[in-house]
Symmetry: C2
Subunit: 496 residues, 2 copies
């Protein structure tokens, strides 16, 4: 004890960029993940949970987000064993890299194609910002070993079903599809071979979301003065050269067949480009045949997120309803999921290219969207609180909550110091309790309990007239034997 006094007290703080989640924040997320898992399961996907820790070697560096190239992982070195230095381990930064490792490791025991879903936290060792945390949830579904674009189409259909399942109504979202191969065709037609300039074009395209058509035109050409006043050097293409890229990015027309026509034109004789257009057409046809028309899934070449990372079709789910941003301006809610085909990921391990396609849902963004829509985050469902009037009769009070719980009603005895009754009511208030139950010595003698309707009580306190107050009292007495029945009645009334 003497030793402890000398040490300064540890700070009770989450590490920078991490946070705690309380009550409904946890349960609402868990419920949403369950709903998503139900859809994935219906589509034949199997759950996979890999460990949070991987070797740095296995993780590699395959982050899709080219915006953040300096992004790191949390890593540490294992203790050495004898002369052998310890492995470097790290927390996973996404669920795709572990999938590649799992598939390479267990491929002889897994079915082909292997459809798996995974959900859980991932970690990024980056500078935290407002609303940006270093641990967050992802929820992925991928099909490994399916070369056909039918697998991509299915992912899009499943994504659409998933959004509706969790509570985003049709019309409030759109799944947009693009194809890296079409872009490759355009670049080929432009005469841009693989290399530095091509990579620079890819990086520029990725900024289309932020800087728009004009911005991309400038960045493909001489350069551009950005919002901060800094001058960003351009790729150095002529206007003529940049033209096809802009045609590609803005190819979306009102009807899919028109969009495909523009793209077919843009890729000219490029074989890979034609293949890409054909893939988009097949995806659109397959989806249309199942009733997933352009109201749910559409071809849109302006989808650029991850276009440099994926090797074929690319998808993004966007929520189209409007919200007010922090400055009070209206804007669309935006992206909540993204994915695509990446045929090279397992190759790192095995040398063999294995076709794979999948989607990742941004769990926290989707939760925020559901809160915006009022689908979750309603009334907090606190427990019925049985107050303690006489601490020697704890067994009586425990008996009451026992009865309530057996009837499926969330309930608890106040377990703090019962001396101050006001504290008990404050506690009930803080917990969002709908009802408090009171049984003092007098009530006990008469075989009754007092039931306090806290929701009604709060309403009355707020704005009731004296008549209303009298007419419908928020506290009344019932025989002890009717406790459960009466509580149930009030809860049912409160819910309506």
């Amino acid at each position: 004890m003497a030793k402890q006094k000398k040490q300064p007290r540890p700070k009770a703080e989450t590490p920078k960029g991490f946070r705690d989640y309380f009550g409904p924040e946890v349960t609402e997320r868990a419920e949403m993940l369950q709903q998503i898992a139900r859809v994935y399961h219906l589509y034949g996907f199997e759950a996979l949970e890999s460990s949070a820790v991987e070797t740095v070697e296995a993780l590699g560096k395959f982050l899709p987000d080219v915006d953040r190239p300096n992004e790191g992982v949390f890593a540490w070195q294992e203790d050495s064993e004898g002369d052998k230095p310890g492995d470097w381990l790290a927390l996973r930064y996404d669920l795709t890299a572990p999938l590649a490792r799992v598939y390479a490791q267990h491929r002889n025991d897994l079915p082909t194609p292997y459809r798996r879903y995974a959900m859980g936290p991932v970690w990024r060792n980056e500078k935290p910002g407002p609303g940006r945390f270093r641990q967050f949830y992802q929820c992925d579904a991928d099909t490994v070993g399916a070369p056909s674009v039918a697998a991509d189409a299915e992912i899009c259909a499943m994504l659409s079903d998933t959004l509706e399942q969790v509570g985003i109504p049709r019309g409030d979202y759109i799944v947009r599809v693009n194809n890296r191969k079409v872009l490759n065709g355009v670049l080929e037609v432009m005469g841009l071979e693989e290399g530095e300039q091509r990579d620079a074009v890819l990086r520029t395209i990725d900024k289309f979301d932020k800087v728009g058509e004009e911005g991309v035109r400038e960045l493909l050409g001489k350069g551009r003065l950005d919002a901060s006043g800094a001058y960003i050097d351009g790729v150095g293409l002529s206007d003529d050269q940049a033209g096809p890229v802009l045609t590609f990015l803005t190819a979306k027309k009102t009807h899919p067949s028109m969009t495909l026509g523009v793209l077919r034109n843009a890729v000219g004789h490029s074989v890979v480009g034609q293949e890409g257009v054909q893939e988009l057409e097949t995806i659109a046809e397959l989806l249309a045949a199942q009733g997933y028309g352009p109201d749910r899934v559409e071809i849109d070449p302006s989808v650029v997120r991850g276009l440099g990372y994926y090797t074929g079709p690319v998808f993004e789910a966007e929520l189209t309803f409007e919200i007010f941003d922090e400055k009070g301006r209206k804007r669309q809610f935006g992206s909540v999921a993204g994915g695509g085909r990446y045929d090279d990921l397992v190759k790192r391990f095995t040398g063999q290219a294995v076709p794979a396609t999948g989607v990742s849902i941004g769990v926290d963004r989707l939760l925020a969207a559901l809160r915006e829509k009022g689908r979750i985050g309603g009334a907090v469902e606190g427990p019925v609180v049985v107050t303690v009037m006489d601490r020697d009769r704890m067994a009586d009070y425990q008996d009451m909550v026992g009865e309530l719980r057996r009837a499926g009603i969330r309930a608890e005895v106040y377990l703090g110091n019962p001396k101050n009754f006001g504290n008990q009511m404050k506690y009930a208030d803080r917990r969002g309790s709908p009802i408090a139950v009171i049984e003092g010595g007098d009530e006990k003698e008469r075989g009754v309990v007092q039931i306090k309707d806290l929701i009604l009580g709060a309403k009355i306190a707020e704005n009731a007239t004296l008549e209303e107050w009298k007419e419908r009292p928020s506290q009344f007495e019932v025989p002890r034997a009717q406790l459960v029945e009466k509580v149930r009645e009030i809860l049912d009334g409160q819910g309506s």
Copy 2:
């Protein structure tokens, strides 16, 4: 690309001591955790999810398991910022240390008492062994700020309800309760003050599970030859001195009042000891009043796990049914949960002692027990597989799975290379599919589909007579329009 070729391929391996969980291993655990959360919620507990990462400073060193004092955490140092060296961060090793940090950090915003539950992985940087992993799940419930033993009694009742809820029948488990204060009283009566010898006695008692009464007697005295042939030095007490400790450990009698009588005797005039006995009596009374008799919760001073860590009541849930161990010997399944009162944990941060009591369920042990009881791990529920006979008619096949899914039937189109039909059937087999659907050109023309009952087919292949084979064919033709109806019918039949 040229660069990659030069690098050796990374090994596709989980880090040592970690593992992957597939399909039912994941979903069965998730379902069990949901069931547990439902009970905790009913008892008024709120979910809490803290981050996996804590500062090493906040985590401290409070592992309850004195058996493994060298146990470590996975830790790393943050990058320094300017002159300031980076914080040391670590993965949490349990859910109790983070609770202490969370409560200290947010205590002004949390209700008192604060009832919270938490579930999730924890990490231990220790030598992995067979069946012992460096990442595993825990599921905890704790009440912080409740000084009364009514809170301890409630945890015991809840633990009992939880075990029954997940599928352990009454009679197959027992929640055993002990109290550190009673032991303290015994040690006081023996004249053992706090200090080295007392700590040695505590460590010895912790071995009671392994070495039994005689072993503890020897270890409290001169010492003992252990199974490996090594001589373990004893604490050096005389037989007379050791007596009360052994009386305490073996105090359990057939009736709680008798057990309490023995304990009351053993603590003599020790105030803390008497208080401890009184607490046990109150717990037993409160539980009995609610119907939790000695068939579910019993007072048993031989519960020693963590007795050195907790400060008051200690509980352990043991499964009493017998299993065969790896050597074919019968033994009781053993402990699946433990907990107790620890009134000093928050004090590290705030300087104030805050009473707290709680329980931690060993999720993987409990899952193993449910598998033993045949409560989980039954038939794998694979998807209906629609085979691809004509790859140009993918839309037709997608249509079928769409219909099936809308009827709530798990289904998928085969998305591998469809050339070899045998591979498609092998895939269905590997997935545990109950049914395969076949529609070739001929069937398409005639407006029918072939339905293959794979479960029945397997049975027939195994042991049917020719008559049975003819009588109940495992493959038949139905009109395309009756696909869903017929599949449902077969599934219902298979389930029965």
